[in-house]
Amino acid sequence: MNIKSQKDFSAGLMFMGVGAAFAWGATTYNVGSGDRMGPGYFPLMLGILMALVGAVITFKALVIETIDGDKIGKWAWRPLFYIISANVVFGILLAGLRSIHLPAFGLIVAIYALTFIASMAQAGWKFRTTLILATALAVGSYLVFVLALALQFPVWPEFITG
């Protein structure tokens, strides 16, 4: 049996898996009956429905011919890795990570880190332009978010402010 549409096949599998997981999870709560619905009733219904929809999509992906096989194509690991890392590093630096006793470095340091890591997502990034961009973003964010909108951030590293 050949997969006629790679995209649909994976989408169908995803819906089946996630739907089944939700339905199974829902059975651990009180399901109840129509007139007295428990917390498990609605999610169980939706989960089963979703798994069914997923099954139909998977089936169709195996049967219905497509022109180019609807390939998923290459995964863009580079942007995926750098964008998500930039986000995670920003969070860790901004507020610190208690579980590994990392102190908060504050907004400004976090912005520099985020800008550099995110910029690396694209081939041909340059140190100087990125530095200028990071500085502009840091100054701009400080003016807008900290001074104008008065949002509560740790701005400077903990060991400086004390």
Binding site: P39, I72, L80, N87, I111, A118, L151
Partner: protein, 503 residues
Amino acid sequence: MDLIANLALGFGVAFTPINLLYALVGCLLGTLIGVLPGIGPAATIAMLLPATYALPPVSALIMLAGIYYGSQYGGSTTAILVNLPGESSSVVTCIDGHQMAKKGRAGPALAAAGLGSFFAGCVGTVMIAAFAPALTELAFKFGPAEYFALMTLGLIGAVVLASGSLLKAVGMILLGLLLGLVGTDVNSGVARFSFDVPELTDGIGFVAIAMGIFGYGEIISNLAQREIHREVFTVKVQGLFPTKQDFKDMTPAVLRGTVLGCALGILPGGGALLSAFAAYTIEKKVKGRPGEVPFGQGNIRGVAGPEAANNAGAQASFIPLLTLGIPSNVVMALMVGAMTIHNIQPGPQVMTSNPELFWGLIASMWLGNAMLVILNLPLIGLWIKLLTVPYRFLFPAIVLFCAIGVYSTNNNTWDIWIVGIFGVIGYIFYKIGAEPAPLLLGLILGPMMEENLRRALLLSRGDWSVFVTRPLSASLLAVCALLLVIVLLPSIKKKREEAFIED
């Protein structure tokens, strides 16, 4: 006349300096993100939601609404000058608009888009003001069964009218509904699907999901594509005003587009994108004057019609939100989020309990449209300059604003991790060709649907026939069934696929 008195109240609210300022800020931001390809109104509104905490609710909503319809104006500029849709709803504007620009008629094309949008925006505003009270009265007759039926219609409508695979869209809606149920169940107090994580008992943050999928997901997929060569017509924009003949050609197109946009915008799942597609298809069918430039080679009707339609559609999509509390597209779903942040329960009671908010928002739309014409036509040079900003400066800034915005929703890094996770999920959705917009609608409607289903069945003592014995609910469900039958009919299915592929 109630309408006059109501509008007077609205303009009184909208004309205060602070609200004028926020309308202007919204329109500016909207035009900005409209002009820039790669960032849409959904991501922008999600980013700015936390920043509106400090504002009074009216100002916050006025600004967010301005971003939405402002982006419709800005999107056409990019479509005409660069042949890239700045917004998804300007995809069809590229076809004839860019051809006009190539022939040195960028000015008239921009003017046609701007003036057409302005006219449509004015009509749309009046329409909301005229129809909303009537619909609101109808909404008060709704019981839980009717609300459940209406939400089902909204979700079915969203998949039927959206582009792409029908079944996958249904799957995404179900996924959204399920994700919306994560957290503490209001009736039993049971924390569902939260795996003993304290943060999950409050549910997954709506803003975080929207930002992850629409912000990060889109950036990653944009970066994965090769750098598109941008051909910007920077010098040639002169002679902004259309000729007399242009006006003659575009006026009927604008009128048709406006009517179509108003009608389709109200429908669940409708809004700007669908209206623009439909308007272009109709303009192509309508016979023009002899000797007219053919479509696809720079016909001004192909710019004016869809642009009027997308703006009218954008405004009309506020109607179901303001009267029934049901969002009809992603941006409206985000507006629900904005209203709940400010402790306003969207629905028919908004008009009576917060009249200054309701009418102020409507009046601000008219003012905003007037501002947009001024912002977009005389200041066009400024926006063109913006188009020369390379993406490598933009995307780190977007990542940063998402991260800052989501952190400030709860001053908690938890939401930053959630954005990251949904960024990955958003990219997976993109790879497997699953449109994320229905997911967000489901996410907003999930808890509401469960609550109404529960109440309806409690009242009927578990009898499911309540949905078909109550006339309003039965007719709403009949429309759902009809929509599904229509879209599944082979002949229409083919047409629908054609309509969305047409480029």
